[in-house]
Symmetry: C2
Subunit: 456 residues, 2 copies
């Protein structure tokens, strides 16, 4: 059953759905092809015992994320604050401390080192232009080294380096060795600074969405109705200046324009005929996905709260380096969420489920005591195993990539437009960046397509 | 027309053809599926005016490359020495010199710096185990930095750094910033040292193959007969422990084992069902191809020889950084071959043919004088534009990749075996490495498959 529309959109994550919605409102006929049997991409709800939703994918929004906050409001959804009351746990260097506020207790020298390193990173982030980081004066220098090299040169204490490795894993689900220092700087700059990335209150982990973040996608998909087609993995796209023929699961969709709204390494797996220019192909060969296994462990109650703990914990010595209280707003059941990120995800993925579960729960017990050994449920998701994500949270650029191939991130190729959070100029890697990219491609297309039918 | 064989091989480059040949000899039924309308992969002959063959892909073999030299002998092919008589040209730093032998004339300080840097690189290369470089004691340190960082720390003069950037471009068709220092060290070690990589006499550029290197593939394909099927791009492979179903151009081939003998980033573009383990998928997301535009420019005669020049030239200031005399053995017509590598290929690819040709010929004129401005033919190949190579000479690992995902390079996944020069332990990236990998997968398969029919 072949179809013909104005614009075909590949991928029903936030980027694709936002683009579809904007275009539909301008009277443009759209069709969204989604490989999975669901919408939302890297946003996915699961069910807690008792039926409340819990996110196994992206889950937070925060101040400054104007695109996603506007979307949430427009869709009539609500947010609530992440639980933060109580003492947080930090294991950095050889010490363990409990603290409130934003600054873990570490020795003064380490603290000073962390502060000066952050100051230098934030300064760099401001200097790296957001829309075209490859044009920054220091771009070549930063792109020719890994973020690990930059950190090694900048942080002077073992604790400082350890802290920033932990931060990198938590923010990128990748190792400092994986990405160029230019990408790390750009990413920090796109969020408005390191504090915005790592803070709960005042930062990217401040708020949660009532009903789970996937409801953002579900609500948009509902508005799009049968313009969203599930179970339609796109394998090939034939294109010329007049338009595209998109092959998806035995069907061919013709359109004047196409939006590719999947992560760069997955965009690389679509066969384009004619083949894409070398610059674009080289770019997507060099933007791998981070790797994370997200684990929600459920308890009959949030027992740590009674002990005066917030449930927030970080460690540079445990595989489960980053933990938050993920209890639903009503306060029951108790939920702790932890992340195996980067190299810890590698090791975790090689274990079988029982061993991985045992290891994760041992880490929770290490943080919160032996009551953590008696969960009522264990809900995990390994995003690198997902055929249609192949990693999380997002893609990053390997060294030498952004300066050589950065412009190909958003440059259209004939009728092909590129969306997805990795193409954003603010909050790249976040739900907010995905929304930004959806709006951008809709504008790109509206400026060149005279709509076939105008609805308003 | 569906088929069933013991072993299906994806890709009719040297790796795939060698594997097919070895397996066939052991009485194993094989079928090689090749996406292109020709065999040879990154080896390809073109025709000079008058009809003699000239390589637009890989073209040299040298001492120590035992696998490919044995193959050449076995196939009844012959080699002849690369032309070296005369003075070579070197432009390093601000000076231009003409020299004979192996050592360009540069200032003594730069020469000492180049020597000490090479000494350190060769020492490192020896220390990095060839079969499992990720287990070397310095592996983490080397893999967390780019080769650019390592060079910056090691080479102390501007000329020294410039020389090694040129060398890196010439050897890898990539920039020092692109690859991890561990990959660079492994690659040098796999060849037996830097001299082996960069030398003509005594090194990887010593000899050429009569009839062009593609004849190695053509001769093997002839022996395999209708076991090689052209125009069969493989899009999907379904697999389980019992075997594979390979989808190629509307046909399904069933087999007990499959050999994937295409470069890593292209292997990533095959859809496997079930999806491959995260380790394997992350690996192929992080092994991009180098980028090179190879240019053969043809003259009525090798005029530079009369001027006492060898035709060999290098420059750290020209896009066309590496040049050789590529004249056929009979001495006519005169051919110069030059390479736009790494960043120079980026710039070259963005020009249209006429501008690129003009720029290349200006560089030849800069090296060899104004007679270079009157070619009788211009034969170029941009390998990053080729759908079924997407770059040359080979893939490399971005930082953080080899230590985290190195074992997935050769680890079988169910019935899937991985070949290709990037999986070799000696001369990775060369024809020799491709042959090694073909022999290896054939051994892997022969050790587990009892042949259905024994021919001898």
């Amino acid at each position: 059953m072949d179809k013909s529309v104005d614009v075909v959109i590949v991928g029903a994550g936030i980027a694709g759905l936002v683009a579809a919605r904007d275009l539909m409102r301008h009277g443009t006929e759209v069709l969204v092809l989604e490989a999975r049997d669901r919408v939302g991409g890297r946003l996915l709800n699961a069910e807690l015992p008792g039926g409340q939703p819990i996110e196994v994918g992206g889950q937070w929004v925060g101040p400054g994320q104007h695109q996603v906050l506007a979307l949430i409001e427009e869709l009539g959804l609500a947010t609530y604050p992440t639980h933060t009351a109580g003492r947080h746990i930090a294991e950095v260097g050889s010490s363990r401390s409990e603290y409130t506020g934003r600054i873990p207790k570490v020795n003064p020298l380490a603290l000073a080192d962390i502060a000066q390193t952050q100051w230098r990173l934030d300064r760099l982030a401001r200097q790296v232009a957001r829309t075209e980081p490859w044009l920054a004066p220091q771009a070549e220098t930063l792109d020719s080294q890994t973020f690990a090299t930059w950190l090694q040169r900048t942080a002077l204490t073992a604790e400082g380096r350890s802290f920033f490795q932990l931060i990198t894993e938590a923010v990128f689900s990748a190792e400092p060795a994986d990405m160029s220092a230019l990408w790390a700087s750009f990413y920090v700059g796109a969020a408005g600074g390191l504090d915005a990335l790592i803070n709960v209150t005042g930062g990217a982990q401040q708020d949660r969405v009532v009903g789970g973040t996937q409801t953002i996608a579900l609500a948009m998909a509902e508005g799009l109705g049968d313009r969203v087609v599930l179970n339609s993995p796109v394998s090939e796209i034939d294109w010329d200046d007049a338009g595209v023929r998109v092959h998806a699961n035995g069907t061919i969709v013709r359109a004047r324009r196409a939006v590719i709204a999947v992560p760069p390494p997955l965009a690389a797996r679509i066969r384009f005929t004619p083949g894409l220019p070398g610059d674009r192909d080289q770019l997507v060969q060099r933007m791998p996905m981070g790797r994370v296994i997200k684990v929600n462990v459920v308890y009959d109650e949030p027992f740590w709260r009674t002990a005066g703990l917030s449930g927030q914990a970080n460690s540079d010595r445990r595989p489960l380096g980053t933990v938050f209280d993920n209890t639903p707003p009503g306060g029951s059941p108790g939920v702790l969420v932890g992340f195996l990120e980067g190299r810890h995800a590698d090791v975790g993925a090689r274990l079988d489920l029982a061993d991985r579960r045992a290891q994760v729960i041992e880490d929770f017990a290490g943080y919160f005591g032996s009551r953590a050994r008696n969960p009522i449920d264990y809900i995990e998701r390994d995003w690198a195993e997902e055929e249609y994500s192949r990693g999380c949270y997002g893609a990053f650029t390997a060294p030498g990539t952004l300066t050589r191939f950065g412009p190909a991130l958003r440059s259209t190729v004939g009728p092909l437009h590129w969306a997805g959070t990795e193409t954003a100029t603010r909050w790249a890697g976040y739900i907010d960046g995905a929304a930004e990219s959806g709006h951008r491609v809709a504008r790109e297309i509206s400026s060149v397509l005279v709509p076939a039918v105008v609805n308003d």
